[in-house]
C-alpha cells in the first residue's frame, strides 16, 4: 500500500509524519466552535438542514438487549422515517452489532431499502480490547453477513502509550479486509483520547492508514462528539484533502440528540471543511433519538405547531 505517499508503513516514517502536525490550542478551538454555534439557521435553510441531517443519520442500536425484532423495526424506520410523508429522505445507514448485520441487510432488502447501508461496529467494539485475530474475525464476519460499512474502534491503550504504529497497522489490516466491499470508519473514542492534539494526531494517522471516515466516539463514553472535537476533525480532513486530493468523511456520534445540535454540526461542516462535505458520502451523524426530533421539527415547519410526540413513531 502506498499510504498516499505520506508514510512507507515503517514506524520511523509514521513518527516523522505525525511530528509535522501543528498543535491545537484548546482555548482557541473551543472559542471557534462556540462562535459557530451562534449561527442562526432559520426558514428555508433550516428546512434544508433538517432533510440533509436526516439523510446523514446512521440510525443506531447498540445494546445488549438488541433483538431481531428491534433491528427490523429500526430498518423500517431507516427506509421511511415518517410513514405519513414520502418526501422525508431515508437515513444513511443503520448501525448495529456484528450478529445483527444479516438480519438488518435481509430486512432492508425486503422492504425496498437497498439504498440504505448497514454499518457494523467492529474490532471488539466498544473497548477494542481483544486480540488481532478476534478483531479480524469480527470484521470478516460482518462483511460476509452483508455489512457495507465497518465502524472499527482503535486501540486507545496503544495510542495513549505512544504505540502509534500498532494503531496504524490495525487500521491497515482492517482496511485490507474491507477491500472494496465495505467503507471503513475509524472510531477514536475522543472522550478517552481527551486532548485535541491527540484527536488531530489520531485523525491524520487514521487517514493515512486508509480510513474512509473518521468517527468521534462509540456512544458509550462521555464526552463524545463535542463541537470542538468535530471542528478539529473537520480541519484535519480539510488539510488532508489539500495534501492528497482525497476527501475523507467525518462521523460525529454520541450526544447529538436534537435538531439544534445536528444543525450546529452542519454549520461546523459548512464553515470548516466546506460545503463539499455536506453530503451523506462525506458526513454522517451517529444517533438514535435524534431522528425523531428532526421529524418533529420538520412537521413543525410544515404545520406551524408542535405535534404531540405520538405523531412520530417510537421504534
Amino acid at each position: 500500500m502506498s499510504f498516499y505517499g505520506l508514510v512507507d508503513g515503517s514506524e520511523a516514517s509514521l513518527k516523522k509524519y505525525l511530528s509535522t502536525l501543528s498543535g491545537v490550542d484548546q482555548v482557541g478551538a473551543d472559542a471557534r466552535a462556540a462562535m459557530l454555534a451562534t449561527r442562526s439557521i432559520k426558514t428555508s435553510s433550516k428546512r434544508w438542514a433538517i432533510d440533509t441531517a436526516i439523510s446523514m443519520v446512521d440510525l443506531t442500536t447498540l445494546e445488549g438487549a438488541d433483538t431481531a425484532g428491534k433491528v427490523k423495526a429500526l430498518c423500517t424506520k431507516a427506509v421511511r422515517p415518517d410513514p405519513t410523508d414520502a418526501s422525508v429522505p431515508s437515513v444513511g445507514a443503520v448501525c448495529v452489532y456484528n450478529d445483527m448485520v444479516g438480519i438488518a441487510r435481509t430486512h432492508l432488502d425486503l422492504i425496498g431499502g437497498q439504498h440504505v447501508g448497514v454499518a457494523a461496529v467492529s474490532t471488539a467494539f466498544p473497548s477494542g480490547r481483544a486480540s488481532m485475530a478476534v478483531k479480524i474475525q469480527d470484521t470478516q464476519d460482518a462483511i460476509d453477513a452483508g455489512a457495507s460499512e465497518i465502524d472499527m474502534v482503535i486501540d486507545r491503550g496503544a495510542f495513549l502509550s505512544g504505540r502509534y504504529i500498532e494503531v496504524f497497522d490495525e487500521i491497515v489490516t482492517i482496511k485490507e479486509i474491507c477491500g472494496t466491499r465495505a467503507h471503513l470508519k475509524v472510531i477514536f473514542e475522543t472522550g478517552e483520547l481527551v486532548t485535541y492534539d491527540n484527536v488531530r494526531k489520531a485523525s491524520f494517522l487514521a487517514m493515512a492508514a486508509g480510513a474512509d471516515f473518521i468517527k468521534t466516539s462509540t456512544g458509550k463514553v462521555a464526552p463524545a462528539a463535542t463541537p470542538p472535537v468535530v471542528l478539529v476533525m473537520l480541519e484535519a480532513v480539510r488539510d488532508f484533502y489539500a495534501m492528497t486530493q482525497v476527501r475523507i468523511g467525518v462521523k460525529p456520534a454520541g450526544g447529538i440528540r436534537n435538531t439544534k445540535d445536528a444543525i450546529k454540526q452542519l454549520v461546523l461542516v459548512n464553515e470548516t471543511a466546506g460545503p463539499e462535505w455536506l453530503t451523506p458520502t462525506h458526513f454522517r451523524i451517529g444517533a438514535s433519538a435524534l431522528l425523531n426530533d428532526l421529524l418533529m421539527q420538520r412537521m413543525k415547519m410544515d404545520d406551524g405547531y408542535y405535534a404531540s410526540p405520538q405523531y412520530v413513531t417510537v421504534d
Binding site: 501543528s22 491545537v24 482555548v27 442562526s40 439523510s55 429522505p89 460545503p275
Partner: protein
C-alpha cells in the same frame, strides 16, 4: 433534496422593533433632556438611512453641563458614601443587562457593527465594567492606591465611535466609582447609545448632574477640553487629536489620560497552533471591521510557514460573512462613516502604489452604505505606509521574519505600542517575546480579549495612563500613592 450542496443561510435579522429612536435629540444635562439648538443627522452606515437629528453642543450647553456636574459633585456625589455610590452603579449595570437587546440593536444600527458583536461583546462588557467598578466604590481605601485618595471633581470625557457604549462604560464607571461627576461627549457619528444610557441614568434614579451627556463634533470636544470648570480629561481617539488635547491641558491643572492609536504586531512563530493562529489573526484585524485601536493590523509571520499560513488565512477570510449588521450571521458589518471609508481606501491605495500585493476576500458588498471587503496586503516591508500608519479598517499588512529577535525588532519598530499578540505552542518563547515587546497589552495565543479587571493602555504614541483594573481606577483619583 440532496442535490443542493450549498448551505445558504437564510436572512436572520434581529428585529429593530425593540428600539424607538426619536426624530431629534437634545442633551442630557442636570438629569433632564434639554433641547439643542443646532442639529446634524446621524445615519445608519449600512444603509445611509438618517436615523435621527443629533444636537451640536456649543458653549452655553457645555457650560450648563459642567455647572450641573459641579453642583452634583459638591452637593451630592462627593458627600455620598462609597457604599451608596456603588448601589447606583450596580443598578445601572443591571438595567443595562435588562435592556441589553435594545442597546445591542441600537448600537448596530448607529455604528454598523454586526449584532453578534454588539450582543455578545459590547453590551455584556459594558455592563461588566459597571459591575466591576460598583464593587470598588466602597473599597477605594483597599485598592492599594493609598488611604487618602480623593476624586478629581468633574471629569470631561470624550469617546470614539468604534465602541460607543463600551467606551462610555470604560469612562463613566470608574469616574463614578471614584466619586467624580462627568460631562461626556460621544462621537458625532454614534451618539444614540449614549443618549439611551442617559435614560438608564434616569431609570436608576442617579442624582441629577452626576452624569451629563452633550453631543457634538470636535468643536464640542474642544470646549470640554478647554473648560476651566473641568478637573480631569479622559480621551479615547486618534493620536492626532490626543496631541492637541495634550497641548491644551499642558498649561493647566487638569489631569489627563489618553487612549490613542495603535499598529499592533501579531507575531506568529512556526510552532504555533496554526488553525487557532488563523482564527486569532482574523479576530485581531476583522473584529469590529478593524475599527479597533488595538487591532492586530500587522501580521508578522515566520518565513518558514508564511505560505501555508496565508493559504489558510485566505481560505478562512473567504468564509467571513459581510453584510447587514442586524443579521445574526454577519461577521463583518459596515464601515462607520464615509470619511473613514475614504481614509481606508486612501491608505490601501498607498499599499498598491508602494508595491505591496493586495488580496480581498470575494464577497458581494451592498450597493448602499459604506463597505470594505476584508483585505490583506502581502510583501509589506517596514518602510511601507501601511506598515506604519493606522488604517483603522479591515486591512491587514503581512510582514515576515526569520529569527525571533527580528520579529521583536519589527514589532517594536513603530511609534505606537498599544497591544501585541504572540502565537507559539512553546511557553518559554511566548514569555520571552512578551517581555521584549513594548506594548501595553500582550495577548498570548489569543487576541482582542477584554476584561474590566485588566488594565488597558499604551506605550509611546498610543497614549498616557491605563483604563480598567486598579490602574484605571487610579486615574480618577488624586493623592494616589503607588506602592
Amino acid at each position: 433534496m440532496g442535490e443542493k450542496l450549498s448551505f445558504e443561510y437564510a436572512p436572520a435579522p434581529e428585529s429593530r422593533a425593540i428600539v424607538s429612536i426619536k426624530p431629534k435629540y437634545g442633551h442630557f444635562i442636570g438629569g433632564k433632556f434639554v433641547a439643542g439648538n443646532k442639529h446634524f443627522p446621524t445615519i445608519n452606515p449600512a444603509t445611509e438611512e438618517v436615523l435621527s437629528q443629533i444636537s451640536l453642543a456649543g458653549k452655553s450647553e457645555v457650560d450648563a453641563a459642567v455647572k450641573a456636574a459641579r453642583k452634583a459633585y459638591s452637593s451630592t456625589w462627593s458627600k455620598m458614601s462609597g457604599k451608596e455610590r456603588g448601589k447606583y452603579l450596580f443598578r445601572i449595570a443591571r438595567i443595562m443587562q435588562e435592556r441589553s437587546r435594545e442597546f445591542a440593536v441600537l448600537e448596530s444600527l448607529d455604528n454598523g457593527k454586526p449584532i453578534r458583536e454588539s450582543r455578545d461583546v459590547d453590551v455584556p462588557l459594558a455592563a461588566a465594567h459597571f459591575f466591576y467598578h460598583a464593587g470598588w466604590a466602597d473599597k477605594l481605601e483597599f485598592a492599594g492606591l493609598g488611604t487618602s485618595t480623593k476624586p478629581h471633581g468633574v471629569a470631561g470625557q470624550i469617546i470614539p465611535w468604534n465602541f460607543p457604549l463600551l467606551m462610555l462604560a470604560w469612562k463613566v464607571a470608574p469616574a463614578l466609582a471614584a466619586g467624580n461627576t462627568v460631562v461626556l461627549k460621544p462621537a458625532e457619528t454614534t451618539s444614540l447609545t449614549a443618549l439611551l444610557f442617559a435614560e438608564v441614568c434616569q431609570q436608576a434614579e442617579l442624582p441629577a448632574g452626576v452624569v451629563n451627556i452633550v453631543t457634538g463634533d470636535g468643536s464640542t470636544g474642544s470646549l470640554i477640553v478647554n473648560h476651566p470648570g473641568i478637573d480631569k480629561i479622559a480621551f479615547t481617539g486618534s493620536t492626532e487629536v490626543g496631541k492637541i488635547i495634550a497641548r491644551a491641558v499642558a498649561p493647566t491643572n487638569k489631569s489627563v489620560t489618553l487612549e490613542l492609536g495603535g499598529k499592533a504586531a501579531n507575531i506568529v512563530f512556526e510552532d504555533a497552533a496554526i488553525d487557532e493562529a488563523v482564527e486569532g489573526i482574523v479576530n485581531g484585524i476583522f473584529f469590529n471591521q478593524g475599527h479597533v485601536c488595538c487591532a492586530g493590523s500587522r501580521l508578522i509571520v515566520q518565513e518558514s510557514i508564511t505560505e501555508e499560513l496565508l493559504e489558510k488565512l485566505k481560505n478562512r477570510m473567504a468564509k467571513i460573512r459581510v453584510g447587514d449588521p442586524l443579521d445574526k450571521n454577519t461577521d463583518l458589518g459596515a464601515i462607520n462613516s464615509k470619511e473613514q471609508l475614504l481614509k481606508i481606501r486612501e491608505l490601501s491605495a498607498t499599499g498598491d502604489s508602494e508595491g505591496a500585493e493586495r488580496w480581498s476576500a470575494p464577497c458581494d458588498l451592498p450597493s448602499k452604505g459604506f463597505w470594505f471587503a476584508p483585505t490583506i496586503f502581502t510583501g509589506v516591508t517596514q518602510s511601507h505606509r501601511i506598515a506604519r500608519e493606522e488604517i483603522f479598517g479591515p486591512v491587514l499588512s503581512v510582514l515576515t521574519f526569520r529569527t525571533p529577535q527580528e520579529a521583536i525588532d519589527k514589532a517594536n519598530n513603530t511609534p505606537f505600542g498599544l497591544s501585541a499578540g504572540v502565537w507559539s505552542e512553546k511557553g518559554s518563547k511566548v514569555l520571552w517575546a512578551s517581555q521584549q515587546l513594548r506594548a501595553g497589552v500582550i495577548w498570548a495565543n489569543t487576541f482582542n480579549k477584554f476584561d474590566p479587571t485588566s488594565p488597558f493602555g499604551g506605550y509611546k504614541e498610543s497614549g498616557w495612563g491605563r483604563e480598567g483594573g486598579r490602574h484605571g481606577l487610579s486615574a480618577y483619583l488624586k493623592g494616589v500613592s503607588h506602592e
